[in-house]
Subunit: 267 residues, 2 copies
């Protein structure tokens, strides 16, 4: 038996440049597949077509709400260079395009130079001393994706579920795959979106669909759980940005994510 | 006579979905056209094809170094919805694709809801009391783009030009078009990249080409000069991210930019 992530992001060659995959219901929130999960499937299809192994920057525009079920992926190799290569991925479901992504790969094992970090991981208590939240939400819906990970969060940061957001606009904590799968660079496309919307901590309730998400993978993660810091600072009408930083066990920044999402109407 | 920005980002219809433009040398740094300038040209071509007026999120992957001269743009309308519409733009020069972008437009005049800002513009002295740096760089090269804007920066933040970076990783200050053109939403695609690389303030020297840039336009700017805050915090080997925030005269966040750029080798 393989790991859940590997099974659920697997892509199967259909013909030249075309792939099939199945969006399972295991990475959903109230029946809606997670955007980062779709990005990871797209990343795996691109990886199969490009000579470089690591998705250093991936930008996806979400076109229609996805549903669990089969999807098709059309991958175009846009450019192949010595250091960087770029692909475009179009994901369709029932004949309608649900996501279009541009992704540029490199080889992060060949990334010499110094490291400067003007910032560090969030300060967290040990993972097993913190809360691993339940998948069942107070409104009766289920976030299946929560079962796929082990989280470790301060209880105050899930106060929004009980009507008590901290108003700091933060979601953060530890993260590991529940079945123990180690993180690789492509899985970070899912990780940047694996926490709930940080806007919940500002009092937002309801579905916050992603319009566009960009993930930068900065390094291959060292073994061990990750630390994820997600923040939303600017809610303007219907739109909010969400920034994610992902840190590995060596205190290295391994990924950054930024998305633009839509807020529910009538705030 | 029109404004420089309007002249230099103009797109001319060639055929269905195809546009021609001229990349002038007026927005270059040492002969290399600015990435945000190319993004603004792409944004204008997309705007001509989409029913919504404001580029709320635009992601571009830069494929080859551009040069001043003619370019062609192929615009595909990917999806048109009531609230959002998405286009893809491929920019080619001499037959080679130099930039591919995905952009999603909306109507920011129709964006009801409350505004929450957990952050504000940089604190700056009055614009005319600050430095408007020269276009001539200490190494003898010329940054033509600097002539297109009036800047207002603290002298310490251009100390890098004299071997004295502050090491804060910041570029910030006031910004206005030198010829007085007001800013609209599409021009913010240029504004997020109108300052020099913040990595210069960390001691980086040389060309820092953009691999990918995403700009979020959050509101239409009120009249008056903008305040721009640009920051780089993580230099890892060959890659650095750069985050920009743009504020209008009403202290509203009007745009955010994030790019992944390549650092010169041998640091």
């Amino acid at each position: 038996m393989g790991y859940e992530y590997d099974e659920d992001t697997a892509v199967e060659a259909v013909s030249e440049g075309r792939w099939a995959a199945t969006v399972t219901d295991r990475w959903s929130i109230a029946g809606r597949p997670n955007g980062g999960y779709l990005l990871a499937i797209a990343g795996r299809a691109a990886a199969a077509a490009l000579p470089h192994p690591d998705p250093v920057t991936t930008s996806a525009h979400f076109l229609r709400p996805p549903a669990p079920g089969p999807v098709e992926l059309a991958v175009e190799v846009v450019r192949t260079g010595r250091t960087l290569s770029t692909a475009e991925v179009r994901m369709t479901q029932d004949g309608a395009e649900i996501l279009r992504a541009l992704t540029t790969f490199a080889d992060l094992a060949d990334n010499p130079g110094s490291v400067t970090q003007l910032g560090g991981p969030p300060e967290l208590a040990p993972m097993d001393s913190l809360l691993d939240p339940p998948a069942e939400l107070p409104d009766g819906s289920v976030a299946e994706i929560v079962r796929r990970f082990t989280y470790g969060v301060e209880p105050a940061l899930v106060g929004w579920a009980f009507g008590q957001p901290t108003k700091a606009g933060i979601a953060q904590g530890w993260l590991a795959f529940a079945d123990g799968r180690p993180f690789d660079s492509t899985s970070l496309l899912l990780v940047v979106d694996a926490y709930w919307p940080a806007a919940f901590d500002l009092g937002v309730r309801g579905w916050v669909p992603t319009v566009e998400m960009t993930a930068h993978v900065r390094a291959r993660p060292e073994p061990g759980p990750l630390r994820v810091h997600v923040r939303s600072r600017f809610l303007v009408g219907r739109y909010v940005e969400e920034d994610a930083e992902v840190w590995d066990s060596a205190d290295r920044l391994v990924a950054q994510g930024r998305q633009l999402a839509m807020l529910p109407p009538q705030r």
